[in-house]
Symmetry: C2
Subunit: 144 residues, 2 copies
DNA sequence: ACGATATTGATAATAATTATCATAATAAAT
DNA sequence: ATTTATTATGATAATTATTATCAATATCGT
């Protein structure tokens, strides 16, 4: 059974909040997890539509919100303002390096940068809650 | 004469691109420079409207774009997706620390973080063009 | 002053997301 | 299995921020 853990997380959240299961929610979760990339609501909508042609756009957005609340999904936006969604369950925190030519994503993480961020926040009297770090450049493949 | 340098920069850009001067552009620049904060298009629009009641929204957006091209203005967006504009002429590059309670902005800069970013990009075969770093937390004043 | 060109303001269009609401599905109680 | 209360769904309208369109106006070199 694929994604058993994730299914359980969603079920737990649904039970917890007195919500109800639905075929749509199951399929959206499945498609979301099967797709190993940072996808937009539209991409998810179109893929789900192949399995459930009657699916509505609103259900995609609603379910994405639900997945975020359940800790299965993370919202992220890149430059232009298009929101993308990525797997969050069992994924460590990371930031992104993005190619401005081909759109390629690389996931990055630097404990050193994270420490420096904390230091800066503290120096200014802030208690840090979260941060956003995105690096934009041209990847090796796009440079020749 | 206040903002003489900035006026010259805009004039130069206008001459350079064979554009034309206008009362509106002068006043928008003035109001933008007088307002010492990170403002939204709407805030700028409302302030300019007090001096030039006939001003159109489109002119605000168009002129902001012009100021950006001229190097006088920098566009930035914070979390929610509202675009803000800040002074760019004679301002060093910096990132932002934002209070999630009161919205206070602190401008930050860390050469160490900048260096580490370069290092990460290089390690992944990227040539870095720019980055976005925003830290979110609660400021001292908001914590008691 | 003239004429070519750029600018303006009103308004329509766009795009992404959220709100509304009648209908359908779910799940618990009978 | 039926009933019942509640939530979910899909169609569509509304919203928000920004950009495009276009006729009327302003600018600037001659
Ligand atoms: Mn990622
Ligand atoms: Mn700033
Ligand atoms: Zn690339
Ligand atoms: Zn604060």
């Amino acid at each position: 059974m694929p994604f058993e853990k994730e299914r359980e997380v969603l079920s737990g959240h649904i039970r917890n909040k007195n919500l109800k299961h639905s075929e749509q929610r199951q399929i959206i979760l499945e498609v979301f997890l099967e797709t190993e990339k940072h996808l937009t609501a539209e991409e998810l909508y179109l893929t789900v539509k192949k399995k459930v042609p009657s699916i509505g756009y609103a259900t995609i957005y609603r379910t994405l919100k639900l997945l975020i609340e359940a800790g299965l999904c993370r919202e992220m936006q890149v430059e232009n303002g298009v929101t993308r969604y990525e797997h969050h369950y069992n994924h460590e925190h990371h930031d992104h390096l993005v190619c401005t030519k081909c759109g390629k994503f690389v996931e990055i993480f630097s404990p050193d940068i994270e420490k420096l961020q904390e230091k800066i926040a503290k120096k200014n009297g802030f208690v840090l809650e979260r941060h956003r770090l995105e690096l934009y450049g041209v990847c090796g493949a796009c440079r020749r």
